[in-house]
């Protein structure tokens, strides 16, 4: 499903050069739930952004679903992100100007789809994360755990094959964290969605099929 070959990512600013990732070779099969662990600054987010086509590697190649991503053309990337990938971020990144259901509809806006169909699917996704009763609220009217559930609904509304979660429980207390984890596990087992999740929480990582450890941008096994 996801294959990284000889990935290297170097950030160059005016004076310093940061090697965020070096010599990464990774294969994630369809339906796997992989967690990524490692100290802060070791390159976990960078790795996730490369898989999610939000960023381009300095060298090496990314393969999604058997095809090598070699054209990093804006339009083609946008389409891939839209169809294949769903993101969940540590800080939720909901749009404050939009209601819960409008937030969830965002990925569907960039597809050809009737408004009523969009609405139906958004409510279905919200139902899946247990928030069907908060459809017309605004993000600021929700608790952190509820906001993250909205974010998950947004990530899965387009039925992506891959779900990428960057410390999804990092801003939540442990109880809410476990609730979010339960939702992710359910998506993984019921819909066969491939999940890659960055976490600092060893108890959450233990529940996944595989743990990938990074230190200073390198894999350790």
């Amino acid at each position: 499903m996801i294959r990284l070959e000889g990935i290297e990512k170097v950030y160059r600013t005016e004076r310093i050069e940061t090697v965020a990732l070096a010599d990464i070779n990774l294969e994630v099969r369809e339906g796997e739930f992989v967690s990524v662990m490692g100290p802060s600054g070791c390159g976990k987010s960078t790795l996730l952004n490369l898989i999610g086509l939000l960023d381009t590697p300095t060298s090496g190649s990314v393969h999604l679903d058997g095809t090598r991503i070699d054209s990093y053309q804006d339009k083609a990337l946008a389409r891939m992100r839209n169809r294949q990938i769903g993101f969940v971020f540590q800080t939720f990144h909901l749009i404050a100007d939009l209601s819960v259901v409008d937030n969830v509809e965002i990925p569907l806006l960039y597809r050809r789809m009737a408004a009523s169909e969009r609405r139906r699917r958004a409510i279905e996704a919200l139902d899946r994360v247990g928030l069907a009763s908060r459809v017309h609220h605004f993000p600021t009217q929700l608790s952190g755990g509820q906001q993250q559930r909205v974010a998950i609904a947004r990530a899965i509304v387009g039925n992506p094959r891959i779900l990428l979660a960057d410390e999804p429980t990092g801003n939540l207390d442990s109880q809410m964290g476990h609730e979010i984890m339960a939702i992710l596990k359910e998506l993984n087992s019921e819909l066969q969605t491939t999940v890659v999740m960055v976490t600092h929480d060893a108890r959450l990582a233990e529940q996944t099929t595989r743990i990938l450890r990074l230190i200073d941008g390198r894999q350790v096994n």
Binding site: N49, G52, L54, D55, D74, K75, A78, R79, R81, N82, R83, G86, F87, F89, H93, L94, I95, D97, L98, D102, I106, P107, L109, Y110, R111, A115, R154, G158
Partner: protein, 411 residues
């Protein structure tokens, strides 16, 4: 897609009330000022009745005699107009008349001031007044110096109290006039036709005007077509160059520009051949553009900072499949909605402001109207600037790397 853009745009604008209000104010205020300025200009120079042939009418309102050390500038005199401005090649009609004189009447013991203009009979042929009673006096009336007069609706009310006025007599400045016609009020800023009462110039109490080169007269000349005007100007210049001057020791040259109302507004030097009207046009257009530039720059600024605020929204949209082009589209639609609403408010506000100015009586008898052609230009310009002010920042932001955008980076 467009419907979505619209929906998002309206939502965003409603949620960001402060930004929306500031932008709307900028846009509509600009439009109002533009509309009021052009309405006033139109009021002075547009071809509205009675000046229906404004486009091929030129006038002589001022004259100057000068020599090496002396200069005498003032209104044109009857002799100058009668002797040198008649029968210019390409002229269809020509009329001479005085500038309005403030005269007084004492109906029932009250003192009432009236602006009295003395004219010839041709005056009524070139200018098309709206008669609500009677008819104008004729060239024959003028020749015979008959004491007849045309008055305005307001003058009728003030001097005669109630219609009909035709057949009755008014007494002003110690002279009695038979009223032959009543016309609608004429705005004060319409220099050529303006008056509150008109009478034959031959009824002037003194004959001295007949010999004056400079004095209190003006003339309008109706050209057969616009193309004939330069030839007429040339001919008048050469006739004046050959004119006999009363005091050749002091005065060697006589000039009297023959030009349109706008040219005469633009003229700064009576001796120069051209009035440099283009200069005034450029100045006005430049001023208008500059004036429009201010809110535009302001809008761009607001837009940049607002879109920067929305960096993380852009990151989110990109992460979920928006292409750069889609995002630019979204922001452009937002701005178009904003400017369109601003334009509508501006238009309505212009109507209200113009009506208020007309009603206030600041300018006597003025009626201001929205110039729809200028309104179209104004709206086109605001739309252009509006979308432009949205495109640039949107384009900059859409090129942002999504990871940076999600971090809320503003560069």
């Amino acid at each position: 897609m467009l419907r979505n853009y619209l929906k998002i745009a309206i939502k965003v604008l409603l949620r960001r009330k402060f930004f929306t209000v500031v932008s709307l104010f900028g846009i509509s205020f600009t439009l109002v000022v533009l509309m009021v300025a052009t309405a006033v200009l139109d009021h002075v120079i547009a071809p509205l009745p009675p000046e229906v042939h404004q486009d091929r009418t030129v006038s002589i309102t001022r004259a100057s005699m000068y020599g090496e050390h002396s200069q005498w500038t003032g209104g044109a005199g009857y002799r100058l107009l009668d002797r040198y401005a008649r029968d210019l090649p390409g002229a269809e009609r020509m009329s001479v008349f005085t500038s309005p004189d403030q005269v007084y009447s004492y109906p029932n013991g009250n003192k009432v001031g009236v602006a009295l203009k003395r004219t010839d009979g041709e005056f009524w042929q070139i200018l098309r007044f709206d008669f609500i009673e009677g008819a104008p006096y004729t060239a024959d009336d003028v020749e015979s110096a008959r004491p007849v007069a045309v008055i305005t609706r307001t003058t009728r009310e003030r001097l005669l109290v109630g219609a009909p006025a035709v057949g009755r007599t008014v007494e002003v400045d110690g002279q009695r006039f038979h009223v032959v016609g009543v016309v609608e009020d004429i705005p004060r800023l319409r220099m050529i036709p303006f008056g509150e009462m008109w009478a034959p110039f031959t009824t002037l109490k003194s004959d001295s005007y007949k010999t004056e080169l400079l004095g209190g007269f003006s003339a309008i000349v109706l050209a057969r077509d616009r193309a004939a005007i330069p030839g007429m100007q040339e001919e008048l210049r050469s006739r004046l160059a050959r004119a006999e001057l009363p005091d050749p020791k002091h005065y060697t040259t006589l000039v009297a520009p023959l030009e349109s109302t706008f040219e005469s507004l633009a003229r700064t030097d009576i001796k120069s051949e051209s009035s440099h009207a283009e200069r005034l046009w450029l100045l006005m257009i430049g001023g208008a553009l500059l004036f429009m530039l201010l809110p535009t720059v302001n809008l761009i600024n607001l837009n940049v900072s607002r879109i920067m605020e929305r960096a993380s929204e852009i990151g989110v949209r990109k992460a979920f499949g928006a292409s750069s082009r889609t995002l630019v589209g979204q922001f452009v639609v937002e701005n178009l909605v904003l400017t369109t609403v601003g334009a509508v408010i501006g238009f309505l506000a212009s109507l209200v402001v113009l009506r208020a100015i007309s009603a206030s009586g600041v300018i006597p008898y003025a009626e201001f109207h929205v110039n729809y052609r200028i309104l179209l230009y104004g709206i086109a310009l605001t739309l252009f600037f509006g979308s432009f002010s949205g495109v640039y920042p949107a384009w900059r932001m859409s090129r942002l790397n999504p990871v940076q955008a999600l971090k809320g980076a503003a560069r």
